[in-house]
Point group: D3
Chain length 318, copies 6
């Protein structure tokens, strides 16, 4: 699908290729001419594109977070490359997993390092039933492929390939450490951490032009989908204890912590409590970091974050 | 299990039998002797029992809502029969469905009438997939037996055999009528009404001495259990459309209306909205009625209801 | 007031008439000329109008939901009629009920059918006092005229003539059915349903350019105004029982269900509970329907609804 | 009704008279005999009464806040007079205003001083319409009698005759002062302060054995009843401006400040804001004072107050 | 810094001076030319300025509430003076207190009158410890200078020099009056009123271009900063009683009334209750007044206020 | 103070010594004699005591969590030692730290191990300013003594000596680990963890008969007291950066996470977020553990926890 990456675009090149839109705005130049400025991205970097003709018409047919096909020529402006767009349209085909990886950055440390961490963590599980569960999951290649590629959420500023995996691994490592301090069962905590968001593989889909929610994602949510997914997996594992199945489902069900946040049951055992609090910590810190990367007001303070209802402060290095 | 029903107890009879405890209190008589007064019940009626010896010891070994075994003699006091208890103990065996029916009254109109209503309503479903779903459920006798016998909730004042069925049928009838007024699909509304609380058959269990919650009932709740139950049923039905499966599960998931009340997703289609509001109406009215039967302060006003945070008013007949 | 209806506008006609504004926006054409596009409506249909001269000046002097006087010529553009506006101004005179009917569509089924339903329902009331109350209301023609014409709310997307009546009749029919199932008094439920929003006839007024709130509407709200209205009506009815007056006022007062939603008293009797839940159901379903008619994102999902905090899903027909 | 006041009871007197119960408890003496201790009150003071015979039977037939008829003999115990009760029963007749005054203390400063303050404040109202309104109220003697006698609330620890008047006068004086600082109209603020709780004269009634809520008090509340009362009064005053009627009703309606606290409309004008905040201040301080008089834990701290969710602190005199 | 005040600008004058921006918008003229209209202010008045060249470039470099340096010429347009801007830039230097006074109006009645009121109120404090505390504060000239100059809040529509002082004095006067009615200690109430917002002198700072929050203001808030400030002051006063220090800090800590509004402790003594309610009243009325000065919809109703979630009503004078 | 420990009480010994009351109840024996059963404790264990004479009188003069002086004789009953009480009274003297340690168990692992952990953690702080801060704290022996001895809260079921230290050390260890995963500064996180509850040393005091709240604890709370304490410490450390002081105070201020939970500022930097979530996790898990030790309903489920609004589940060992 992709032929020419952002990193390889040369001055005066004719560029006819696919990109991800990360910003879009309409401005007017010094001589009062209206134009659209679009920030385009693929996994190698970002480049600005400008639309000077048919401004309203062309800019009306795509949005932020869309994958678009662009016809343009690269020119140099104030020492930076810029695409001079002659035509642009939204890609309406649903992309494959491989294709979608061309447009998004990979999560911290890279997919390979994260997969290794995942397999190391699952290999350290001592409980025989839980160990078998992760062997069973390993056999479901398609499931694992989706789990390894998906971002942790849709429509947040920086969505990254492997974001869900990065979050799951990070929660598992911290939660396992906290289990030691709090007397929770480390194997159940580890399994619960890796599975708490598993339903997202059915909630998030590749849509025309990027990531989006599936119908059942909107109707049922990743908590319910995760429990159904586990409920369908378990019959394949001989002798998996009923109480353990219930506890894993309970960890998934309760990981948002309370009803108002989407968990109809509070965490009711030490293992569920650990997963809930560590999940909260990791998700919130990740969200704040991304906000601070995207939207600082000055060198110390971020802009106001709507959802978290706060500005955030970067502690000076000194 | 039962041999002598309340309705058949005669004066001076020796009574050694099982009863349900509906009230328990300790008082002192005119001559300042302490005694325990216990209200005992079976499906035929209620009788007062008094414990005069070993008052603290005997009354400590059972509670309200327990099934107890009583050794006593019937005597007449102020023209009413009363049991003079010599021994009493909690039944620790788990009762069968048949046994448990001996102790609770049947829901309004009787079980048979309610079953007929259920089969009439399911027979009127035109949608072929939904019709097949209820045929499939009909084959699962054990499931249906539980659905027909269980009360609508545990530990409410008057628990009745068939209370869950009564509520489901009542919601289905009103919701179907409302569907006509609101443009919702009547078959989906009917199916959703009958299934919205189906998870209660795994949430509520017969415990030693009465009804109680199962472990998975406490850990997962009847909403999640209902969705899992449906998800296991559907593969048996050829060609059941995915969207319809998602919509039925969504109706179950959203029937409490909003996150704070235990539904992580709001009702998102007309069908789910109808089931939610009619379920609320029927459950609240039923709860208020039972409260007013049990706890009036005078002829017009009930006592304050903790959960509903209100007194209730009986409109004068005139 | 109206002379030429949308349905009768012919190509090249000179159009000088009154219309309701339902959309307004400023755009630029392919050749970068700014223009205002306005969607105009009367009871027969809608037509687009464009302002090409004095764009900012003219479009600043009216808003969505205003009645405007337009001077224009009809031309054909891409096979559709369009008004080419030369002058436009907001109508500042307060319209009469008859005039206002020229601009809004009638509620579902038409005013006549709804009035018939209203009179049929009131004629079926058996309770002699309540029957007399509705006879008394029948004598107050002006009151009834307003009740029959008003929309159910102000500034919602589709306001229709008779919307309040449609909602009241619909609640009455469903609530009466539900009364039978729940043991509530059907006559009180019917009367309460028809009167629960009666205060809107004092809360909503015809303002220059459409519907709006009266001063006392903003200061007191339709619940208080409805109770005052009833309190002034009742002395005209001989022997109306005090308790019945209190119950009707209580139904009006409590129909929003709880303090946070504007009802200082919770519904305290079966009759008030039925009206509250059925009112909620009908209003919410109506609101969702109108949202889905106005704002679908694709063929299955509506856009996000701010107030209801959700998207809504159209169950596929199949 | 009363013949012998607490202040006049002499040692060894036979006492057969009516009292208000302010405390009731069951204890056992040093030699392990059970007895009931009851604290009895009339407007002249309090005395302890003890029941030694038929303890359970007699103490079951009355409650705190009831008016009771007592047969007893006064004896001296540890240098204090005590009533030795032989019979006691709840008074079931509804008391007249005059009778009820025999049992409760008068509000701070005495009824006469408060009435004077009321008439002084109303005489200082400059606005001719508002002045006429209070003249009209003056003519309704029965209404004013109730307004002058009632307590500010029911079932609070110390209910006093004139409590409602004391609160109304106190709010009026502070609010008038605050009006000067905030630019609110002083006459409207004064009138609103005196009328904000006027509905309590229909909400609170003399019940058998003391004060209680009327049916319409429970169904409609004092806010709605106050607005209805005003709405019935105003036609008697020629030329009373509509806007002024709406503003007074709005002050009554909004004086609880927000929906959650029972006011469906927020205060929307300076006058309503002043009445709301000063009413809150006076009511809360009064509530805290009464709590601190009744329930200190030590010399500095009160016990925890359920409703206000706090302990309160008595600043040391030094 | 300032040389030419708004009040002194003459027709055709060349104006090169500093102003405060109070409004900024982009419009297009009758002949469709885009321009920026900016409302400029200093302590003597306001004047409109228009930017016709480099509209986007120039208007992008400053915002509402900024201090800007303007190069322009005054011309007359429709009988009003207007500045024709050729250059404009944001002032980046941090202004001194004296400089900042050039741009904002003074609070009601003028700074001098407010200072007099402050010193009169403090001189009337009888409690010797509290009197000494305000003498100590009087010695800290820099502290008092900031307290006298600051506005009551940042980024509200009309910020005035002395707004914090005006609010503090107004609360003190009303609270002292209310103390007499409620039995609170008048000296503690007075001191608490004057100190409740004292932390704002560390929370609000002069920023480049106007007022803003300090880092510690954002991290700790004025409540915590006020307590720290008092805690540092008190050691300078011999024999200041511990309990009095705790009570003053408690008044500061609790003046927002409850946790959700930023006070981790509820007001726990009469003195703290008085300060809380009177502070609320004064702040809300002030906020409503400023909103009504800035944003009326018609002669009676203000526009909707986001924060207070209401419109406000101006009672007609008649 | 203590002479004879529970562990050393021998049969038939005369016991006149001090104990902590952990349970108190009144029962009646088989032959219907009333007695009080009291569970007494010191750091070596617990023993039951029974009061047979002057039951009401003696048991009225002390409560759970009091230190009492007991006169009794040890006797054997059903193979267990029991104290037969002849006299008992509450100790009214305020205990010293050393004395109070005689009655409570030590926190997990013992005080010495926890102190070692504390000094190891502080010695690993690399930031020179923070390192100096903890050296300064080390010099304040009295402060550190209180910090090492206090329980983590008052009036929770099991209060242990060193509970505050145990919680602080546990948070520090987990938070430091989490800092590595989330990019927060590990030294600030460590310091913030150890200091977040430091204000408890001024909030909790030894009262007559055990632990309690100080006046300033109730008026200001441990968050404000902790900030004041730090603010008084910092001037002793040369060159401590202002921003670091603000950040530490912010961590203390925000550690409850949001206003409703007592933190007027949300955590605004990564370091504060880590401390907040880990503090929550540790405190909740500790609370649940203590609840499960004290109040299991059966072998799997705890009783309902009022504050946490849930039952808790002990995952079977299998």
């Amino acid at each position: 699908m992709k032929r020419l990456y952002v990193a390889d675009i040369a001055k005066d090149a004719e560029v006819k290729d696919f990109f991800l839109v990360v910003k879009k705005g309409i401005y007017s130049s010094k001589n009062n001419t209206r134009y659209a400025s679009v920030s385009l991205k693929d996994k190698t970097g970002a480049i600005e594109a400008r639309i000077w003709d048919r401004v309203d018409e062309l800019s009306a047919c795509f949005d932020r977070n869309d994958i678009v096909y662009v016809e343009s020529r690269a020119r140099s402006y104030q020492d930076r490359l810029q695409l001079n767009v002659t035509d642009i349209r939204k890609e309406t085909r649903v992309l494959s997993a491989r294709e979608i990886c061309e447009f998004y950055p990979q999560a911290g440390g890279g997919l390979e390092r994260l997969k290794e961490a995942y397999f190391r963590i699952t290999s350290e599980i001592g409980n025989v039933h839980l160990a078998r569960l992760f062997e069973e999951i390993k056999k479901r290649e398609e499931m694992l492929d989706r789990f390894f590629i998906l971002p942790a959420s849709v429509a947040v500023h920086h969505m990254s390939i492997g974001g869900l995996l990065e979050h799951s691994v990070s929660v598992a490592e911290m939660a396992k450490y906290a289990a030691a301090f709090t007397g929770a069962d480390p194997d159940i905590v580890t399994a619960g951490s890796l599975l708490h968001d598993i339903g997202k593989i059915d909630e998030i889909v590749f849509k025309s032009g990027g990531f989006g929610f599936s119908d059942q994602g909107r109707l049922l949510g990743h908590i319910t989908l995760g429990i159904m997914l586990l409920d369908r997996l378990l019959p394949a594992i001989d002798g998996f204890p009923d109480f353990l199945a219930d506890v894993l489902k309970h960890i998934i069900l309760s990981h948002h912590g309370q009803a108002e946040w989407g968990s109809p049951k509070n965490p009711m055992c030490a293992e569920a409590l650990v997963v809930h609090y560590i999940d909260n910590l990791d998700a919130r810190i990740m969200g704040v970091k991304e906000h601070m990367e995207a939207a600082m007001e000055d060198e110390k303070w971020s802009q106001f974050h709507r959802l978290y209802e706060s500005r955030f402060y970067k502690v000076p290095e000194r």
